[in-house]
C-alpha cells in the first residue's frame, strides 16, 4: 500500500498540492536533516539546507524523472548537491560553533580541536566526490545503512553500491592526501 500511496502523493506534489508537499516534508525532512548535518556539522546550517533541498525538489519535480525510480534516493542526491554547492560557495564557517563540538570526558581540548579539524577535512572532501559516490559514502558510513538499503534507496543493485563505495573511498583518500601535501 505504501508505494502506491507515495506515488499518489508525488503526483499531487507535482501539482504543488500543499497537503502533499507538507506530507513529503514531514516524512523526509528529519532524515534529510540528519544526512545534511553529518555532512556539514552545523545545526542551523543543516536546517537551512534541509529546506533548500525541498525547495529544489519542488523546482525539479515537474521536469526531472529522477524521482520515478526512487524518490528518497533522488532527494538524497539533491541533498548531496546542496551540500556540495554550500562547500563550493565558500560560505562555510571555518570556526566550528562551540555548541557543535562535543568534548568527551577524557579528551583534551587540543585533541578535540584536532578531531574537529579532521572531521571538517573529511566533510569537505566528501563534497568533492561525484554525486553517486558522495551519496553512497554518506549513507553507508554517516547514516549507517547497509548495502541493500543504499541500493534500494538509489535504485541500483548491491554490486554497483560496492563499486561506488570502493571508488568513492579511493577518491576521498586521494583528495585528503592532496590537501595534506
Amino acid at each position: 500500500m505504501r508505494p502506491d500511496s507515495e506515488s499518489a502523493l508525488l503526483e499531487r506534489a507535482r501539482e504543488y498540492d500543499a497537503t502533499a508537499v507538507a506530507e513529503l516534508y514531514d516524512r523526509y525532512s528529519l532524515r534529510i536533516y540528519n544526512y545534511v548535518y553529518h555532512r556539514v556539522g552545523n545545526r542551523s546550517l543543516a536546517e537551512d539546507l534541509t529546506s533548500t533541498v525541498f525547495v529544489r525538489m519542488l523546482e525539479a519535480i515537474r521536469t526531472s524523472k529522477g524521482w520515478h525510480s526512487s524518490f528518497s534516493g533522488w532527494l538524497y542526491r539533491i541533498a548531496h548537491n546542496a551540500v556540495v554547492d554550500h562547500f563550493r560557495s565558500g560560505k562555510q564557517d571555518k570556526d566550528v560553533p562551540l555548541e557543535d563540538v562535543t568534548l568527551s570526558s577524557s579528551e583534551h581540548l587540543a585533541e578535540a580541536a584536532e578531531r574537529s579539524i579532521t572531521r571538517e577535512r573529511v566533510r569537505s572532501a566528501v563534497s568533492q566526490l561525484t554525486e553517486a559516490q558522495g551519496v553512497v559514502i554518506s549513507l553507508k558510513f554517516l547514516e549507517g545503512m547497509t548495502n541493500a538499503e543504499v541500493a534500494e534507496l538509489m535504485g541500483k543493485n548491491e554490486g554497483a553500491i560496492k563499486s561506488l563505495q570502493f571508488r568513492g573511498l579511493a577518491a576521498l583518500r586521494r583528495v585528503i592526501d592532496e590537501e595534506l601535501v
Binding site: 502523493l9 504543488y16 498540492d17 500543499a18 497537503t19 508537499v21 525532512s29 529546506s51 554517516l142
Partner: protein, 557 residues
C-alpha cells in the same frame, strides 16, 4: 582486479562493523593490504563523524513554511502559465493593457473593431473578476469616448452607474470576494447599514465618510464584498451628480495616461460631469497592472481627456482573520486580498502561517487600494470542535493515508473504518470531520459495491479522458478497462462493465466496431441490441462470463 578489491573491501568493512579489528582483516589479504589499509582507516574516520548523533533540529517548522510558500508560488506560477496558454493572445488583456493608457484606448478601439459586437456582447453579463469583464469595461469606455452629444453622454453615464450598482448586487448575492466602486444616492442610513442607490452596504469604524454626506447626497462608494455577501464600505464620498466622466482602475503610476496622450481631443474649460468608473477594480490572485484612463466629458462636442492625479494615501489597517489562501505574493485573509511581499515580517510563534490559521495582520492600504502586509502574526488556534461532514462521491484515488472522493481529499487514520473494497470509480459514502485547518479526516467510508454487471451496445456520443458517453450512458474507464478497436464519436461500441450506484457504468471491456461495419449492419432481429441514436440502451445483466450476444458484434469477430 577492481572487482576483487571491491568485494574484499566490502567484506572487511562488514567485518569491522561486527567488531573484527582492522589489522585482522588486512592480515587475511596480504596481497591487497597496501590498498586496503588506508581505505579502511578512512572508513573509521568517516564513521566517527556519523556516530555523533545530530542534535535535534529546532527550526524545521520554519523550513516547512518556506517550502510550502515556494509550493504556493510555483502553483500560482503554473496556473498562470496554463491560463496564459488557454487565453488567446488577442484576448490576453493583461498583456495588452500593460502598455500605456493611451495604448489601451487605441487597443480597445481596435479590439472592439476586431472582435466586433460578439465578444463585447458576450462580456455584457460578466462581473468583476471574470475573464471578460475588462472587455466589458473597455467597451463602455470606448462607448463613452465616442459619444459626443452631451445629453446622450449624461444618459450613458447614468446607465453605467446603474450597471455598476447591479454588478455590486450580483457580486453580493453570489458571495464573491471583490473590491468594487459605484455611485448612487444615499437613500437611508440606519446605524452601520446604509442603502445607496438600492444597494445595501455596511459601514465600519474604518469606513471613511465624507463630511457632507447625508441622506439624499449623491456619493461614490468604495466597497469590499466579503464571502458572506456583505458589502463593506471603505469610503463614501460626495460626488457631484452627473459630473465629468472619469474612469479609474488600480494601476501602477507609470501607467496613468499622460495628459498629452490625447491632446488632440482638446478640452474646453467648461465644468463637466465626472463619473469615476473603474476599468478593473477587482484584485485577483494574480494581480496585474491595468491602466488608468481619466476621461473628462464636456458639454462641448469635442470630448475632453485629461489625467487626474490620484492623491497618494496610505492607510494602516489592522485586522484578524483566517488565512484562506496562500499565493506566491498574494494571500486571502478573512476574505481580503493581501499582498505579502518579502519585507513582510512573520510571527509564527503560535503556529505556522498555513491555510486555516488565524492571523493578525498589520497592513498598509496603498494608493491603489491594495492591502500590503507589514506583519502577519499567527494567533493561537481557536478551540473549535471538529465539524462533522458527510457526503457521497466517486472514489478518485485511494491509498494508505489519503483518499480522494468526490473531489474531496481525505486523510485516513488508523481509526478510519473502511467498509467494502475500494476501487476507483465506485461510489463511497463518507463520514468525516473537518479540522480547524480545513482538512477532512475520514471517520468511516462505506464503499458501495457495483449493483450488477451489465452489457449494452450503442453509439459513442462523446469521448472524454476517463469517461465516454455511449448511448446516453456515462461509461467510466479506468486502468483495468480494455478497449478494442478505434473509438470515434458516432461509432458503435459494445460495453461490458459494472453498473455503478450513480447510474454510470464502470467499463471492463469496450469493443468498438468499425464504422463501415456499423453502417452496413442491418438491425434485423428484435434481440439485436444495436440501438438507434435516439433509443435508450438496453442494459442486460450478465449471466456467467461475459460473452458477445449481438449479431452485429459477433459478425465482427
Amino acid at each position: 582486479m577492481n572487482e576483487d578489491i571491491e568485494n574484499v573491501l566490502d567484506k572487511c568493512i562488514s567485518e569491522m562493523e561486527s567488531g573484527v579489528p582492522l589489522e585482522a582483516c588486512i592480515a587475511r589479504y596480504p596481497s591487497l593490504a597496501a590498498q586496503l589499509e588506508p581505505l579502511l582507516r578512512l572508513v573509521l574516520e568517516i564513521r566517527s563523524l556519523g556516530q555523533e548523533p545530530a542534535p535535534a533540529p529546532l527550526n524545521l517548522r520554519a523550513g516547512r513554511q518556506r517550502v510550502l510558500r515556494e509550493a504556493a508560488r510555483l502553483r500560482v506560477s503554473q496556473q498562470e502559465k496554463e491560463r496564459t496558454r488557454q487565453v488567446p493572445w488577442w484576448l490576453n488583456l493583461q498583456t495588452l493593457l500593460r502598455r500605456s493608457a493611451a495604448a489601451a484606448v487605441v487597443a480597445s478601439v481596435l479590439l472592439v473593431t476586431i472582435l466586433g459586437a460578439g465578444t463585447v456582447a458576450i462580456s455584457a453579463n460578466s462581473l468583476p473578476g471574470d475573464t471578460l469583464y475588462p472587455v466589458k469595461r473597455i467597451g463602455e469606455e470606448v462607448q463613452l469616448l465616442l459619444t459626443l452629444d452631451h445629453e446622450s453622454k449624461a444618459l450613458l453615464v447614468e446607465r453605467l452607474d446603474a450597471r455598476r450598482r447591479e454588478e455590486a448586487l450580483a457580486i453580493s448575492s453570489s458571495q464573491r470576494v471583490a473590491e468594487l466602486s459605484f455611485r448612487g444616492q444615499v437613500e437611508s442610513v440606519q446605524g452601520e447599514l446604509w442603502n445607496i442607490g438600492g444597494v445595501p452596504i455596511r459601514t465600519s469604524d474604518e469606513t471613511r465618510v465624507g463630511d457632507d454626506v447625508q441622506v439624499g447626497t449623491f456619493v461614490r462608494v468604495e466597497v469590499r464584498s466579503l464571502s458572506d455577501g456583505t458589502l463593506l464600505a471603505e469610503s463614501i464620498s460626495q460626488e457631484p451628480q452627473g459630473k465629468p466622466v472619469q474612469a479609474t482602475a488600480s494601476v501602477t503610476p507609470e501607467e496613468t495616461a499622460a495628459p498629452t496622450d490625447l491632446a488632440t481631443l482638446s478640452p474646453t474649460a467648461t465644468a463637466s460631469p465626472t463619473v469615476r468608473a473603474p476599468v478593473q477594480s477587482v484584485p485577483t490572485s494574480s494581480p496585474s497592472p491595468t491602466p488608468t484612463a481619466t476621461l473628462t466629458a464636456t458639454p462641448s462636442p469635442t470630448p475632453t481627456v485629461t489625467s487626474t492625479p490620484i492623491p497618494p494615501r496610505q492607510v494602516k489597517v489592522t485586522f484578524t482573520g483566517r488565512i484562506e489562501q496562500i499565493g506566491a505574493d498574494t494571500w486571502i485573509i478573512d476574505g481580503r486580498v493581501v499582498k505579502v511581499p518579502a519585507s513582510t515580517s512573520f510571527d509564527e510563534g503560535e503556529g505556522p502561517a498555513a491555510i486555516g490559521a488565524i492571523a493578525r495582520v498589520v497592513a498598509i492600504r496603498d494608493e491603489d487600494g491594495d492591502l500590503v502586509a507589514v506583519s502577519i502574526a499567527i494567533e493561537p488556534p481557536p478551540h473549535t470542535p471538529a465539524e462533522p461532514f458527510e457526503f457521497q462521491g466517486l472514489i478518485e484515488s485511494f491509498g494508505a493515508e489519503h483518499w480522494s472522493v468526490g473531489g474531496y481529499s481525505l486523510t485516513i487514520t488508523p481509526d478510519t473504518v473502511i467498509e467494502g473494497s475500494p476501487r476507483k470509480g465506485l461510489l463511497a459514502e463518507v463520514k468525516a470531520v473537518r479540522r480547524s485547518d480545513g482538512s477532512l479526516v475520514a471517520v468511516r467510508i462505506v464503499v458501495k459495491p457495483p449493483s450488477e454487471e451489465v452489457q449494452f451496445e450503442g453509439i459513442i456520443e462523446s469521448l472524454a479522458p476517463g469517461e465516454w458517453v455511449i448511448e446516453g450512458v456515462a461509461v467510466r474507464l479506468d486502468s483495468d478497462t480494455v478497449v478494442e478497436g478505434k473509438p470515434e464519436i458516432g461509432g458503435t461500441a459494445e460495453v461490458q462493465g459494472l453498473l455503478l450506484a450513480d447510474g454510470a457504468v464502470l467499463a471492463r471491456r469496450i469493443v468498438v466496431q468499425a464504422a463501415s461495419a456499423t453502417a452496413t449492419t442491418p438491425p434485423t432481429t428484435a434481440t439485436q441490441a444495436v440501438p438507434t441514436r435516439s433509443s435508450t440502451p438496453t442494459m442486460e445483466p450478465m449471466q456467467g462470463p461475459m460473452v458477445t450476444q449481438t449479431a452485429a458484434s459477433s459478425t465482427q469477430r
